[in-house]
Every structure is written in C-alpha cells, then in structure tokens.
C-alpha cells in the first residue's frame, strides 16, 4: 500500500516536470568552470523560459559551480524544471561550512590567495545565490559537504 502511494505521488509529480537532469562538477578544475552553467542556461532557453528566469538561474548555477570548483572535491547540480519553477539542487563533497551565518555575509570569504587573484572569492557567491532565488535553503556539515536548494519562480 505504501509503495503504491509512493508510486502514485511520483507519477503525479512527473507529469509536471518539463526537464530533469543532473550535472557533475569536478572540484579544483578552474579550466572548465562555468561549462555546466552555460549548458544549463542553454537548456532553459530552449525550453522557452522568460529571459529573467533564465538570467537568475544562470547566476545561481554559476556561483554554485564556482563554489564547488573552489572548495569541494566534487559535486553536482540537479536541475528540475516545472511549468512554474526552476529548482536547482547543489550537492558537494568537500570541506563544508563551519559557520553558515558568517558565510552568508556579503564580503566574507575563506578563499585562498590564488582564488582571489583570479577575481573569485570576493564573498559575493552565496549572497548572490540567495538574492537571485525566490526560495533558498542551505545546510552543511564540516568535512562532509554542503547542500543547497534554490527555487526560482517562473511567472
């Protein structure tokens, strides 16, 4: 009975999904940073979402991707598009964030010199992700990784 209910829920949700995919990101590899976000932006454009939704989603994905490249061993972005929302889940395996409140503050960053010299690590990433999302959730465990879930509403 439980299994059937689960299945039913799944079927109902699936009907509303326009697109769903998962994208792997390699930690530490700056040479490819931005490639996943560029692909996701292209996909969202193909689906025909409004420019503003595509723009916000691209910023959220890019900052998340850079965070994985800068701070994690590896990670992934799960993208789910429904007629009313773009859902972006970001899951990584890495150092995690000891103090989320501090990490959310604009200008705060733990980036090393090399990252800063490239123009990253200005302490804007998480702040940008939050401000361009309609719903923002973050949780993290030190030495395990970080989980983000953002929803961008489509008008």
């Amino acid at each position: 009975m439980v299994a059937w209910n689960k299945l039913k829920t799944k079927v109902c949700t699936t009907e509303n999904i326009l697109y769903k995919n998962s994208f792997d990101i390699e930690g530490g590899n700056f040479s490819n940073a931005g490639a996943v976000s560029t692909r996701i932006k292209w996909i969202l454009k193909q689906i025909g979402l409004p420019d503003d939704v595509v723009r916000k989603s691209a910023i959220v994905c890019y900052e998340s991707e850079i965070n994985i490249v800068s701070y994690a061993r590896k990670g992934k972005i799960n993208l789910t598009v429904t007629p009313k929302t773009v859902e972006i889940e970001v899951i990584d395996e890495g150092q995690g964030i000891p103090n989320i409140e501090l990490a959310m503050q604009q200008g705060y960053s733990t980036a090393n010199q090399q990252i800063r010299e490239m123009g990253f690590g200005a302490g804007m990433g998480l702040h940008n992700i939050k401000s361009y999302s309609d719903t923002f959730n973050i949780s993290s465990e030190v030495n395990k990784g970080t989980f983000l879930k953002m929803i961008i509403n489509s008008p």
């Binding site: 560029t38 850079i66 123009g119």
Partner: protein
Amino acid sequence: MDIETIAKKLNLKVKSASDRLKNNVTGGYTGDLLSDVMANSHEGDIWITRQVHQNIVAIATLKEHAGIILVNSCEPARDTLEKAVKENVPIMVSNLPAFELTGKIFNLLAEKK
C-alpha cells in the same frame, strides 16, 4: 554600435573571433571581480577588465557579452585565447587604463543614442 567601430576608433588590437566584430554593443561593464560582473553585467555589454585568465571567457559566454577588452596592454593568457577562439568570443586589447577606456566607450555609446 558594433565592436568593429569601437575597435577602430579606440585603436584596439583584436586577439580572437575577428569574424564576430559585427556583434552589437548595447552597453558596457567594467570590473575585475567575477561575481560582480556575473551579477550586474548584461547581455550585449562590452566587458572591460584587467583579468586575463581563461575564466573570463566562460563569464562572457554565459552572460552573452558582445566582447571583452583587456586594459593597460595586458595580453590574454594562452589558454584564454584558445578558449576564446573555440567559443568565438572577441577579445581585444587596449593600451588605456580602465578608467579612460570606460569613459571613451561610454561617450561613444551615448553619442550613438
């Protein structure tokens, strides 16, 4: 105004994607912090920066910038150039500092309007 016009008027050296010089420039953004450029620049902007590493190409591609201008005669890194050729992103070099170059381009775009 297209990139070619700006490049000629301001003596820019074109380093990549010379077949894309008809790209229309609708505005501009000056900055070296990538998150700032990512959040605040727009499609069609010409991006003025001092950063020369390959991640500038990813930003310009993602934001659909008309092109990138490097200031103070800074040359793009080799892998930056390779990426720009592959992604067809025009990179140009100016001998001016960012402040002067920005002012000149701002005026060119304002005249046009």
